[in-house]
């Protein structure tokens, strides 16, 4: 009971911290993006018909000619009412843009996280069962290869190999732009999965490689412990020892890694989304920064900051689930 009260207190205090962190980050980003060179209409100046007078008119229409403090106070008041403003680059309300992008990122990053963590833990178990064997060395070299590889490069290679040289997957996008709406529900699902495959596998390879390396090291650290020896002496099968006794105790660093990876669910994998033209949060924020889309950048950062703090809180709570010793503290 006392420990439950402690957990609730911790959660509340961390939530308050999260609100403070989000407020500070939002303010910083708002000031930085507004003071950076350019404005949302700079790109339009390439058009011979767009004059500086017209640009000034647009700035006035959207209140960008007001002092920064006025703009900030108005923005905060709007956000408090649930209005995140108008996206200059997408020409739509920011909330609509985020509503479209978030599910795409959740699907991609969620699939990749599950695949990456399941695959990474699985690989680590295989390696830790036969440490120093050829299988261990080969898998270790493989995970090192993907761990060291830049994400955008791997994405380009995957696209080149599996969409162009051996065209078994589509090049980009989240669905077939032409045939998707004519498909039966089953074919439409298959189409989505086909489009999801390349970006999700790429992201899973990158995160799985890191997970495998951390998990293998932790498994090898736990294996010589006394309770493992005791389990072996009691005649428990090797498979059960690994899955039930060793893995559970070796999961804590991986849980940390999972907690740190959770924000990716919401903020997206910028380069992967860009290479595969996956219309998710990563792409939206990257594009918003380059086009100085102030409201969209700030809203994206609010989502990112909130998820980082909540992700870290969830990771702490998962520790408690995995490790009973933490619950008692």
């Amino acid at each position: 009971m006392a420990s439950n009260r402690g957990i609730v207190g911790t959660v509340i205090s961390r939530l308050v911290q999260a609100i403070v962190v989000v407020a500070i980050v939002t303010t910083l980003v708002f000031v930085l993006i507004h003071t950076a060179p350019g404005d949302p209409f700079a790109g339009a100046m390439d058009n011979p018909n767009v004059s500086e007078a017209l640009r000034a008119r647009w700035r006035a229409m959207y209140g960008l000619d007001q002092p920064l403090l006025t703009q900030y106070l108005r923005y905060i008041a709007n956000v408090a009412r649930g209005d995140f403003g108008w996206s200059f680059s997408m020409h739509r309300p920011v909330l609509d843009v985020l509503k479209d992008a978030l599910p795409n990122t959740l699907v991609l990053a969620g699939t990749a996280l599950v695949l990456g963590f399941a695959g990474g833990i699985g690989l680590a178990l295989i390696q830790a069962t036969r440490p120093g064997s050829r299988t261990d060395r080969t898998l270790g070299a493989g995970s090192m290869f993907f761990y060291a590889m830049p994400d955008f490069w791997l994405a380009l290679m995957m696209m080149l190999i599996f969409a162009y040289w051996i065209p078994i997957f589509p090049v980009a996008g989240s669905v077939d732009p032409i045939m998707h709406e004519y498909m039966t529900p089953l074919a439409a699902l298959a189409d989505r999965l086909k489009h999801l495959a390349l970006p999700a596998i790429t992201l899973a390879l990158l995160s799985g490689a890191a997970v495998a390396r951390y998990q293998r090291a932790e498994l090898l650290r736990v294996l010589p412990d006394d309770y493992v020896r005791t389990a072996r002496a009691k005649g428990v099968s090797e498979r059960r020892i690994m899955l039930v006794h060793v893995l559970r105790n070796a999961l804590i660093p991986t849980v940390s890694l999972l907690g740190l990876s959770l924000p990716v669910l919401f903020t997206g994998a910028v380069f992967i989304e860009r290479v595969f033209a996956w219309p998710g949060m990563g792409w939206v924020i990257l594009n918003a920064v380059s086009t100085r889309d102030y409201p969209l950048v700030t809203a994206g950062v609010i989502v990112a900051a909130a998820t980082v703090t909540i992700g870290s809180l969830l990771a702490d709570m998962l520790y408690a689930v995995v490790d009973p010793r933490i619950r008692g503290r």
């Binding site: 950076a36 060179p37 350019g38 700079a42 790109g43 339009a44 100046m45 390439d46 058009n47 011979p48 018909n49 767009v50 004059s51 500086e52 017209l54 640009r55 000034a56 008119r57 647009w58 229409m61 997408m90 020409h91 739509r92 843009v97 479209d100 380009l156 696209m159 080149l160 969409a163 162009y164 065209p167 589509p170 090049v171 980009a172 996008g173 989240s174 669905v175 077939d176 732009p177 032409i178 045939m179 998707h180 709406e181 004519y182 498909m183 039966t184 074919a187 298959a190 189409d191 086909k194 860009r274 290479v275 595969f276 033209a277 219309p279 792409w283 990257l286 594009n287 380059s290 100085r292």
Partner: protein
Amino acid sequence: MWRDDVALTILIEDPLKLPAISMMHTAAPTAASRSAATRNEGRLAWPRSPRVRGAAMLIVLATALACNGERKQGPASGGTLVVSTASDADYLFPPLIISTQGREIAEQLFEPLANIGDSLNVFGDAGFTPALADSWTWAPDSLSIAFHLHPRALWHDGKPVRARDVQFTIALCKNPDLASPIAPLLSGIDSVTIADSLTPVFWFKRRSVQQFYDAAYVALIVPEHVYGAIPASALASSPLLRTPIGSGRFRFRRWVPNATIEIVSNRTHYRAPARLDRVIWSIAPSDFGAAATRFLAGEADMFAAVRASMLPQIAKSDKVRLIEYPGFRYGYMIFNMRDPASPSSPNPLFRNVQVRRALTMAVNRASIVRNVFDSLAIPSVGPTVRAMATTDTTIPQIAYDPQRAMQILDSLGWHPGPDGIRTRNGKKLAFSIMVPSTSMDRQSLAVLMQDQFKKIGVAVTVSSVEPNVFERQQHSHKFDAAIENWNADPSPGGIRESWSSAAAHAEGSKNYGDYANAAFDSEVDSALSAGSPPVARRLYSHAFQTLLSDAPAIWLYEPRNMIGIQKRFHVAPLRADAWWAHLADWYVPENEQTARDRAAAGDAPAGADSTAASGNK
């Protein structure tokens, strides 16, 4: 009625002939034939002999029946075109469009009163072909033009197009609350009045050789009953703009932001529906590589931004071809005539025309353009493009002559120092070239020019900056030289915005280099107000000659545009300023159609699955 049915019959036989046939019936009147054309509008000579008249009636009846039969069966399928692109449209509502992508699509959905001809003539009405207006009548003093709307023109929601829609469109575009980018182009139009429900009359503030272009082509007409109820200041954020209703040969179907825009043939169009059943823009947002790969992998049929690096892969394919068309872009290195350290003072180096000319002579433009663009660009001829009707390619350019360049610099007191760099009064002849970090082409050009300048003893550094910084530095005149990429406008009057003295004195104008020459200004102003096209052309020619001689910039490149397209498409001629101008006349012959072509809008193919999309691989 009869005339349109004939046109439709001819269209089905050969779609590419339609513009010519239409022009035969409704070509824009010249000054001499204007009144006669107006009198005979809509009429054809009728045979006098009863026997011939009977035969003619039979032909008319047969033609009409044939047309009706064709309509009942539905027009032949023209296939589906999938265009791969790296950018989404900003708007599909013409008065607010800035992006090329938006223009490309909106010009299929909406129509002007008259279309500019392929020669892109903007003087008078020569070459213009009827669009929403069947014909037009000039006032004797040329201060007004009455446009006669096609009586059967309909909006996509079935309502008729009327004169008040034209009046509404012009008033809306000029409304400061909308802040439309085309408002300055309509500044010569005083007002639009309504003579009758099918006759809007444009009144001009003054006569100009471009007044017909301004009235008939600049603004695409939008329906008042759809957009009129929304205040102009609220239009930009209206959800209605996401589902545009126009009058064009295509109508809007769907827009999935950053993914897909689809338009389908408007089967009830008053002249002729689009031949293609539908066109889909498949968007790989901000990713040129993904957009190009989609095309090369066969997921899309067309790609309008072919680069030199793609040519070998396209050459290997037996299903894809390249079509070249003249472009409307050009690039140049501009000299800043204000001192970057103190922008209110003149630049001590570039204010001297002899220095600018010497630097121009040092650059072998043909060589560096070939090096960077391979065969996809040619040296530019000035702040214009060859495709513009007013461009005079006979104006002498400053030729590549490094020896002469060195002589000029010697004569100005710039002598080589021990390190080979020229100095004068202890100051080195050095400057930097600013380029945006996102443009590999411009960075390569700057590096090659750096080497050529070094050969005549000029030290150059290349400064690659983020695009927003590039734009800010230009506006604040805090740069030595910068490589610009410019999109021309069919109207040559646009050079005033970039090169006139008035623009040089206006803060934030596009005359980034602060070039000013009263002779150039007066020649351009005279050309704009010239009474006749030949006089205007001659004056523009003089103005360009003055500008080229002053060397305010080194005119570098003019890209040769290429589209890559699947061979099964029959493509109408590509217009220099808009490859999409005749898109409604493209088609795929039925025997060459794939599963994707046959998946016409609203007709889901039986058993269609995701593999059908790759049917043309």
